[in-house]
Subunit: 244 residues, 2 copies
């Protein structure tokens, strides 16, 4: 089975949702048959450098909350994070563009899903627990190398703005095609969708449901046409009839 | 809609099947909504360097065909290729490992699907039309750079045996999970499967069938638990109720 998780580093419910999903997965009987594949999503594709203001400011200015309501909203998120055993710093600032972070995540994936996952966790920790500015290149490089990525490789990715850019955009296009309007967005076997930082048992239930449905494809046969459809199964592609 | 095509460069029916699929796609009314994504498959993961013998020799030695039967089988494949307007050289030799070719294809994809497609076509042409030995590094680099890939990037990929290796293995694992035992193997929206170099009209029909089914996900809801499932839709993740 294959689970794809679209998320953005700037999204607290992605941080929390990842932990909840992992608990739900741990409770799933066939967890060893599950491959998890994190995919890119930008909540604000037009973000530039971070404006250097607390997130609560935005809640006040953009959504008309009172400063007290804004503080309470951020405290609620912090409490949800704490409920999953996650650190969450006080006074988090509005994040800037996460495009480069997603490009670096794709670069890390070329070294395997574990390398990718370690970097994603490091980004979440840096942004939500340590309140680091990941739009500052030297800070970013410290976080990235701390997660096991080779520094010269990371610098090369950052220097070439097109490196892995298409991979990020492909992820985002697919999210849109699948109907995602927000994140975290979980897709199992491209057939079942779960939206949001659901409780762990919802993920377990979704995995159970997908498992019960089976991942098999509907085979589109050509029998009606009476044609053969040559397939290569080893080096001797050309002689289907002569196969032992 | 998303079509994934698993194939191997050493597989003549992948070469032919790609052309047939493209004709079938061109006849599909919603072709502009289709994304095609080629994926890696090795028919012979244990192949080393090419043995320097014609494919017909293998047909004789491994499958007990007479030399005349073997020649006739290879002529049949050449005729199928010609039927799709594809060049097919006479006297093709047994290919070696295609693992490095697949790694290079994944590297090309970081520059977009078009770059990937151009390289795949170049590999097929080199192997089937021009009868080049792609296991010879300098020959391979000429083909790769001829398809628009930067030479230093290609050399770096070839020098680092782990570069994109995991991406190739992931493709192969997924093919196995989806039930592919041979190639070409076509999967539409992870729901419909077509095996083999089918005639173009079968691909059009499969695309019609997938379109009619709709690509939508089955939403796994959490309503029964009575919980909310926080989602980030923009920077103001924490205040779903306050959204305008």
């Amino acid at each position: 089975m294959r689970v794809e998780i679209w998320s953005d580093i700037a999204c607290p419910f992605c941080y929390i949702g990842k932990a909840r999903f992992e608990k739900g997965l741990a409770a799933f009987a066939h967890r060893d048959d599950v491959e998890v594949h994190h995919r890119s999503f930008e909540l604000n594709p037009n973000a530039g450098d971070p404006p250097g203001a607390p997130v609560t400011t935005m809640l006040v200015e953009k959504y008309g909350l009172s400063p007290e309501q804004a503080e309470a909203a951020e405290r609620d998120v912090a409490a949800s994070a704490a409920g999953e055993g996650l650190e969450y710093g006080e006074g988090r600032e509005i994040s800037g563009s996460t495009f480069d972070l997603h490009r670096l995540l794709h670069a890390a994936r070329t070294h395997g899903e574990k390398a990718h996952d370690a970097l994603l966790d490091a980004f979440y920790r840096a942004h939500f627990a340590d309140l680091l500015n990941l739009n500052d290149q030297e800070t970013l490089l410290r976080v990235v190398t701390g997660a096991g990525v080779d520094e010269s490789e990371a610098r090369a990715v950052l220097a070439d703005k097109e490196a892995y850019a298409e991979a990020v955009r492909t992820d985002e296009r697919e999210a849109a095609q699948l109907g995602a309007t927000g994140v975290p967005f979980f897709v199992i076997d491209r057939r079942f969708g779960v939206s949001g930082a659901q409780p762990p048992e919802v993920f377990t239930q979704a995995l159970d449901q997908a498992y019960a449905a089976g991942g098999g494809l509907v085979t589109v046969a050509a029998a009606a046409q009476g044609t053969d459809a040559p397939v290569c199964e080893d080096g001797a592609c050309e002689i289907p009839d002569a196969k032992p």
